[in-house]
């Protein structure tokens, strides 16, 4: 968390600091399929909270008001809630609604849940003017142009399949995670996406991204976008790399551009 804040400060992304709120993540042993609370991040970042603020403005202010006190007897900024106290409680109330009241059920994806809970937990301290929220249209132009992101990543029918497909990344990754993906790619690499290098016994080299692996075989997509299945007994070398082939954009894009690309990726819901 400290490194994250230092990075943000270096990028000039605002003087405001979020409270280090550890999410009450119920990702326990039997998460229900599609359980939105299961995607809560360990720590809410400024990008999560900024995203949550935008969602709040769009969907919550009609009833709760801009300051969170629009419903009689409810003050969202107080940090105390009528129908629960933990983050899971808040997720449950938001996604199920409260029968018999005006609180309807909201259908939110993982990134939206992370954002809205992060914002609710930080409403008091949050300074809207201090964080760049980005513009998705500008972010798309950077993604497809200056950033050359499509050289490896695919969105819809555009781009390479060598890197992970990002068509739904805005529904599965939080804003904070996407920001870190741009500035410190290796830190956000899902283990399954770790690149591998295999050398067969006859000397053929295969580089690619893992799609699946078991005790005896590994499945990957190689640099030519071919689906390859290798039998480990046929390999003389098999290496799983922990560094990402993606460069950091920390110094390649400025703070506005980074915010724009994050906004674009958050818009990729795969719907």
């Amino acid at each position: 968390m400290r490194a994250q804040l230092l990075l943000l400060a270096a990028l000039g992304l605002g003087m405001w600091r979020p409270q280090a709120v550890a999410a009450q993540n119920p990702l326990a042993q039997n998460p229900a399929p599609g359980n939105p609370a299961a995607a809560l991040p360990a720590v809410f970042t400024p990008a999560d909270i900024a995203y949550g603020a935008r969602l709040y403005d769009a969907q919550c202010t009609t009833c709760h008001g801009a300051n969170g006190d629009g419903v009689g007897g409810v003050d969202l900024r107080s940090g105390k809630f009528r129908n629960g106290s933990t983050d899971q409680d808040l997720v449950r109330v938001i996604t199920n609604g409260v029968p018999g009241t005006g609180m309807q059920a909201f259908r939110l994806d993982a990134a939206e849940i992370a954002g809205i809970i992060g914002f609710l937990r930080n409403m008091n301290a949050f300074d809207r003017g201090s964080i760049k929220t980005g513009d998705a249209a500008r972010g798309r132009a950077i993604f497809e142009g200056k950033g050359s992101c499509t050289r490896c990543h695919r969105v819809g029918s555009l781009g390479s399949r060598v890197g992970p497909d990002l068509s739904e990344v805005g529904a599965t990754r939080s804003a904070g995670s996407l920001f870190r993906s741009l500035t410190d790619p290796a830190s956000q690499m899902m283990p399954i996406n770790r690149p591998v290098r295999a050398v067969t016994k006859d000397g053929k080299v295969v580089n690619g991204r893992r799609l699946n692996e078991d005790t005896y075989t590994v499945q990957l997509i190689d640099e030519q976008e071919k689906l390859v299945s290798l039998t480990k007994a046929d390999l003389r070398e098999y290496t799983i790399l922990t560094t990402s082939p993606m460069p950091s954009f920390k110094d390649r894009l400025n703070e506005n551009e980074l915010a724009d690309v994050v906004a674009y990726m958050l818009s990729l819901k795969g719907r």
Binding site: Q4, A22, A23, Q24, N25, P26, L27, A28, Q29, N30, P31, P33, A38, A39, P41, A42, T86, D87, Q88, T172, R173, S174, S177, R180, D184, A186, S187, Q188, M189, M190, P191, I192, R194, R210, L211, N212, E213, D214, T215, Y216, I240, T242
Partner: protein, 562 residues
């Protein structure tokens, strides 16, 4: 309906006549000697000592490469199929989801009859709608049900004989394990550890279904062990439940064992409730995470040993209690050997409960040493830091095996697996989840997104970064590792060994493997296409040895190529 059952009975008789197979009743004597009756599989773990070891020797390390599929049976209801079949004189009996019982020909897989239990629609099922198998006595099969009943079924016709309510399923109680028949009683425990139950083990008269005795795994305040549920400290800053014992968990969801010589039946007890918010239940919380030794006639507690006092990790001790007569420090010992979810291997004296050996078989950091009585010195990790083993444990309910031939104990293990634990206060409400958890899988990539929970599809997206699987063979007297068979994905599969030193096991990847029990070398494998979660068994019909594996919805039965 009647006609159908009559027809099935005739088929049984006809097959018996054609094959010359005997169909003697399974009396108490046959159960006591079940492990010696190698051609059959009469008890969940193969015999009362629960070694999941067979005396059959037709399949050997030399010819295991010639194993081939003989027949398959497909279940109709999707979900994790955890059952272990019984085989009695050429007839296989098994449960299938949700609470069906199927009788089929163990040589061909053709079905004689199916019994379908109608579940109470108001039931609340904790932790998976599973059933792990049956017990048999005489011509009667016994099955526990998800709505917490115990049902007796005619093994020849599939007709129910009696149906006894064990507990209230609306409050989250269920019976998911295979019952254990001991003499004239049927013993079961109740599941529901994440729903605030007060667990118990009870024995029922095998003929009438009437309850004969009951042992609560959570003692009341005035009972021995009741003081292990301590009063809340005055002015506690965090939520504390003054009547925590009333919903203290202590579920029982894996079949126990029995020593006829000592007349003791042994059962592993599950986690305390709530699972993860330990602060609201001060004390050791007996008899959660313990093994209890009960007098088989009265249910009275003879001894107990608690593996994880005051558990905050959900380290159920519902592993199968494996009884083994071994040599320990030069002396013969009636031992109990146990690989616990908490990552430690134990040797106990099963006559007295005395702690003899405690040794990690996977990475452990929730404790660092034992005192002379076997009490672990707990070392809770700071908030946000990972605990090894993770929530699912170094192993879990998956059946281990002990081979008297090799003297080795074989553990299905999860390695490199950790969880970042966190508890949240939770008040008990009947029929509502009572976990009190805020946990996540540990992935050693700073800030990386959370990886999915334990239930996954055919893609191993956990990878080596989260956990890997293994069959670990340890010396049963010392816990010293002798060999390890590593698997890329974790394993929920039980283990079977045979007197010819062949070990069978599967895993999440769907491979069913024959392994040399002495060396850990792979002998043969078959990709069955879906995860294998139950324990294999072996049996013999008409002079041919068969081995079973359940993968996904398929029961696959293998034998040697002819």
């Amino acid at each position: 309906m009647m006609r159908r059952f009559t027809g099935a009975w005739l088929i049984v008789l006809s097959i018996a006549a054609l094959t010359g197979r005997t169909h003697a009743q399974v009396g108490p004597d046959r159960l006591v000697n079940a492990a010696k009756e190698a051609r059959n599989w009469l008890i969940y773990s193969g015999g009362y000592f629960s070694q999941r070891h067979s005396g059959l020797t037709q399949i050997t390390p030399a010819n295991a490469k010639n194993l081939e599929l003989k027949w398959m049976y497909q279940a109709a209801v999707a979900g994790v199929w955890q059952t272990t079949p019984l085989v009695v004189d050429g007839v296989m009996y098994l449960t299938q989801r949700l609470n069906d019982v199927v009788a089929l020909d163990a040589k061909t897989g053709r079905v004689f009859w199916i019994y379908r239990h109608t579940l109470d629609p108001t039931l609340v099922v904790c932790c998976g709608a599973n059933n792990r198998g049956l017990a048999i006595l005489g011509d009667t099969l016994y099955m526990g049900t998800l709505d917490a009943h115990l049902v007796a079924i005619d093994a020849k016709t599939g007709r129910p004989l009696w149906n006894t309510k064990v507990a209230d399923s609306k409050a989250g109680y269920s019976v998911t394990h295979a019952p254990l028949v001991v003499k004239d009683k049927v013993v079961v425990g109740v599941g529901g550890g994440e729903y605030g139950i007060r667990g118990f083990i009870a024995a029922f008269d095998a003929r009438s279904g009437r309850e004969a005795w009951r042992f609560y795994t959570i003692p009341a305040p005035n009972e021995p062990g009741g003081d292990s549920w301590k009063p809340c400290p005055p002015g506690s800053a965090t939520f504390c439940d003054p009547e925590a014992w009333k919903h203290g968990g202590g579920s029982v969801w894996v079949t126990g064992s029995y020593d006829p010589g000592l007349n003791l039946t042994y059962w592993g007890v599950g986690n305390a409730g709530p699972d993860w918010n330990n602060e609201q239940r001060p004390g050791d919380n007996l008899y959660t995470d313990s093994v209890v030794a009960l007098d088989a006639d009265s249910g009275r507690l003879k001894w107990h040993y608690q593996f994880t006092p005051h558990d905050r990790y959900d380290y159920d001790s519902v592993q199968v209690p494996v009884l083994a007569d071994i040599t320990w420090q030069g002396q013969p010992l009636k031992a109990m050997v146990w690989a616990n979810r908490n990552g430690n291997f134990y040797v106990l004296d099963r006559e007295t409960g005395k702690f003899l050996v405690g040794k990690p078989f996977v990475k452990v950091n929730w404790m660092d040493k034992f005192d002379e009585r076997g009490r672990p010195n707990q070392t809770p990790q700071p908030p946000g830091q990972p605990t090894w083993p993770g929530n699912q444990g170094g192993t879990n309910w998956y059946s281990p095996s002990f081979s008297p031939h090799t003297g080795l104990f074989y553990i299905p293990a999860w390695e490199g697996y950790a969880t970042i634990f966190g508890g949240t206060p939770v008040e008990y409400q009947e029929g509502r989840n009572f976990g009190g958890g805020a946990n996540r899988n540990y992935v050693p990539v700073p800030g990386a997104p959370a990886v999915p929970g334990i239930r996954r599809g055919p893609i191993n997206n956990w990878t080596e970064a989260v956990a890997t699987g293994a069959v670990i063979a340890v010396d049963a007297a010392t816990g010293e590792q002798k060999w390890k068979f590593p698997m890329t994905d974790v394993t929920d599969s039980g283990i079977l060994t045979t007197a010819s030193d062949v070990l069978f096991s599967g895993g999440r990847e769907g491979y069913f493997q024959a392994i040399d029990a002495r060396t850990g070398a792979l002998l043969w494998k078959a990709n069955l296409g879906a995860q294998i979660v139950s324990g294999p068994i072996t049996y013999e019909v008409d002079g041919k040895q068969y081995v079973t594996a359940i993968s996904g919805l398929s029961l696959c039965v293998f034998g040697l190529r002819e």
